[in-house]
């Protein structure tokens, strides 16, 4: 296994920054899991694909747009009709490939192609709302659900992984630039990198 290095490099600087008058409003971390895969269903096979994802991750979700689930050591959410981003431990992609029959769909390992950046804290919704034209309120974007969107052509797959926590999956080659963008957006609320 080729060892991955963080795409953030020297842009990742632990500490507290920005307006700290009310303490850091958000915490920014890299949350790239050991394995990331996209599982796609052939037409009409979304249900059996979801069953295979559940077999591997233990996470069940409905075949509705934006659906997702977060568990111990695994997460999954819809990124398009019949398409799911699955993250988890080492070996996830091989397990998915074994579980998804050839006539159900395909599994693509993206572990070396994506980075996950995590924003958490009481001002997380506010900071993200500056970057994306999405409704981040808990009613519109409940825990576990996912959204596929873009910030100035930087594609982003976003999952709410906690009450005030979001994981943002971006292409690795955009990760450092997007990280710096995230830091700049969080200057106003103050942020902690850790």
């Amino acid at each position: 296994m080729v060892e991955r290095v963080s795409p953030l490099g020297e842009a990742f600087r632990p500490g507290t920054y920005g307006n700290l008058a009310e303490g850091p409003g958000v915490t920014l971390t890299e949350a790239t899991p050991a394995a990331i895969a996209e599982a796609s269903a052939f037409p009409g096979s979304t249900e059996p694909l979801l069953a295979a994802i559940e077999t591997v991750t233990g996470l069940s979700l409905p075949a509705t747009p934006g659906a997702g689930a977060v568990g111990d050591g695994a997460a999954v959410f819809a990124i398009g009709p019949g398409r799911y981003l699955v993250s988890g431990a080492e070996g996830l992609s091989a397990s998915l490939q074994a579980a998804v029959a050839l006539d159900i769909g395909t599994v693509t390992d993206l572990s070396h192609g994506r980075a996950a950046l995590r924003i958490a804290g009481p001002r997380a919704e506010w900071v993200l709302a500056k970057l994306f034209a999405l409704d981040f309120s808990p009613a519109a974007f409940p825990v576990g659900e996912g959204r596929a969107t873009a910030h100035h052509d930087v594609f982003a797959h976003i999952q709410r992984t906690g009450g005030d926590q979001f994981d943002i999956y971006v292409f690795r080659s955009f990760a450092r630039a997007f990280w710096q963008e995230l830091c700049a957006a969080a200057e106003e609320t103050g942020y902690e990198v850790g």
Binding site: A63, P65, I79, G80, R83, A133, R147, A150, D153, F155
Partner: protein, 93 residues
């Protein structure tokens, strides 16, 4: 201009890319009718009003959509997945 993606809900037009006029029909590939091919490739009615067109939600779920859009007001009067099978049970946006 907002496009109400059936999967993602209403999103800004900047997330979409135009994929062309959906009113055209391609001549039989074996056809040598040059006028029919010329019309298919080059001639557009450019209506001022409702127009059927393909868009891709490139900066989102990446599906192709079939829209009826008013070219005067940018009002999207109808939207569906271009792949007909996806329109069954599309569920909430």
């Amino acid at each position: 201009m907002l496009i109400p993606c059936p999967h993602c809900g209403p999103r800004d037009v900047s997330e979409f890319s135009y994929q062309g006029d959906a009113t055209r029909t391609r001549p039989d590939p074996a056809s040598t009718d040059m006028k029919a091919w010329h019309d298919y490739v080059y001639n557009r009615p450019n209506p001022a009003g409702p127009h059927r067109e393909y868009w891709q939600h490139a900066g989102g779920c990446r599906v192709h959509l079939l829209l009826t859009r008013d070219t005067l007001t940018h009002e999207v009067q109808a939207v569906a997945f271009a792949r007909a099978g996806l329109n069954e049970g599309a569920g909430k946006p």
